[in-house]
Amino acid sequence: MASILKIIAQRLALGVLTLFVVSVVIFTAVNLLPGDFAQAILGQGATEEAVNAIRKDLGLDQHPVSRYLSWLGGAVQGDLGNSFAQANFASFVGSDAGSGMASVAAQIGPRFENTMFLAGVTALIAVPISITLGVLAALYRNSIFDRATNILTLSSISSPEFFLAYILILFLAVLNPMLPSLSNIYDGMSFGERFEKTLLPALTLTLVVTAHMMRMTRAAIINLLASPYIEMARLKGLSPMRVIVKHALPNALAPIINVIALNLAYLITGVVVVEVVFVYPGIGQLFVDSVKIRDIPVVQACCLIFAAAYILLNLTADILSILSNPRLRHPK
């Protein structure tokens, strides 16, 4: 048991280290921008004094290393700085810095919750469907059903997210008006309404991730079918369904859990495009908007959150696959 804790602690430390290096990379990348926000917002004709005043208010005049440290220190405490674009410059130029500024955390908070809701709904739909389909495809392998699902899943993996999104909009929102094609979510919405608005983006993401998870489930189970204990179970006269569900599936769990976690990590990237298509007020949409207007604190914060979620899910996959495999749990 102690050895497991040690392994997990090692992985966690490695994860924190990766996150730290990633934050350095993000910060350095953003600082490669020519000019700065003060110049961008005031335009070509700005006087030197005005640019300097804004620079001072925003802390852009300090050395990059000290700026990085203060940014990181704030980020650890949940303070991600202030959004440039939301700042009301007219009201505070020359006065105390920070008045009339919207904090990044306040902007990201509700959107983060929305994105998590979307990812959660997707996971709830996608995981059971993909495992069921994977088991069925392994059970009826090489049949017409297996080949048809193979073709369908391969097609849905390889289509771009926006293609799937527009196909779903076309059939489920425009031609057969069952679901809303715009996910305008606001505060004070009832859960049912919110769920209905989230359903179409969630279905799109489901199509994207189900395929991969289902194929891996099928492959993991089929890999095991040549094992002697499966042969034994068959010779005992168990039904094919029972052989797969009772004997093969528990042993295939490690790769399946791994691939589920990796796909949830993939959701993070997929979410950007899908949120833009459905105008879903999540973190992905905020990110793309901030990229377009070069709102650096928001871009930095979103990047960091995406990377953190990605690292966390990969870490979870790692740890779960260790926990579910006795051979890894007790290394020689």
Binding site: V25, L33, S158, S159, P160, V288, V291, C302
Partner: protein, 399 residues
Amino acid sequence: MMTILNLLLLAVGMAAVGWVFRFLGQKITGNKPYFRDMSFGVAFGFVFGAVVLVWLVWSYVLSHSSDPTVANKYFFLGKAVEGLVIFAIAAWIFRILGRSVGTNATRKLFRSMPLTASFGVLTILIYAFVAIFAGILAPYGQEEILGAANIVPGGNPAMGGNPDYPLGTDQIGRDILSRLIYGAQNTVGIAFATTVLAFFIGGTLGFLAATLGGWLDQIVSRAVDVLMAIPSLIFALLLMTIAAAWAGSEKGLLTFYMVLIIAVIDSTRVFRLARAVGLNIVVMDYIEAAKLRGEGLGYLIFREILPNATAPLLAEFGLRFCFVFLTIASLSFLGVGIQPPLADWGTMVRDLAQFINFAAFAPQVASAPLLAAGAIALLTVAVNFVVDWMLHKSSGLKE
């Protein structure tokens, strides 16, 4: 609510029919083993498949109905069925041709080919042809602004079309067909160049790391680990922001930066594979022999390692191309990828997307953005089919 209820009713109905189907089969054939041992799942599967087939045929019939509201509603399904059948027949004919024409080696290849793979090969060939001869095939130039904007696709003057522009014109009056054709050149060409660059960077570094080992291997591997810890689309978007600021108003330069950025991001994945494959090859006896002969590093990498690593790298090239292609399409769709006036499918989808809302009463109008998105999807699906077949073949026929 009604739809869910109807679907449940349908499922129960199909289950009942499946049971009856199996029962009748057992009775009529006098308990032949095929029906006797049929599990209920298989019987249900047959009924389900039959229902889907009937539904597809029925919607194809409805798409030619004389009532325009019904015909419009089933327009897309009808076209999808048509496209599926045409492509299946074309792939089938192509496979027959491949089996009877050509050298012995290619004939053998075509004999073992499933229909999906021959569909993939045919589609890739068509795309390559269109991309190479885009200048000759396209009726108009990609940046040419023609007479009228927003001409409806279909070429029927009664419905707002124009036979000169079979797929209509876009919001500022450029011919959509020409832009689709040029899109093959731009989108596919840029994606291809990016993939080649990614393979050049990642492959070289990977083989170098595998052969030399030591500190070079450590440094590059750790750098790759960090780059891979950031989701690729997010990282690409971040770097594109910076590139956009650097490029300023020079659109061509921005596209060039995009190629570099995506190539570097994707080369990390290639590096991983090339290093892993290289490490397995480096320990072989023939490498040892070459080293003892006193061969240089270049000879080792290009004459000894590379030829033995072709098969996995080739499959990876197909998959990597799909990823790069989709990333570029997504970036363009988000508005930070390939820049206008170059015709590009991702940008076209974004520009024309709002027309989808007209699908219920003017399906031709709604088909323009779907054509561009479909062009992207068709190519990636085709490449994936071919790669899937290659992997299946090289993995040996497992159960």
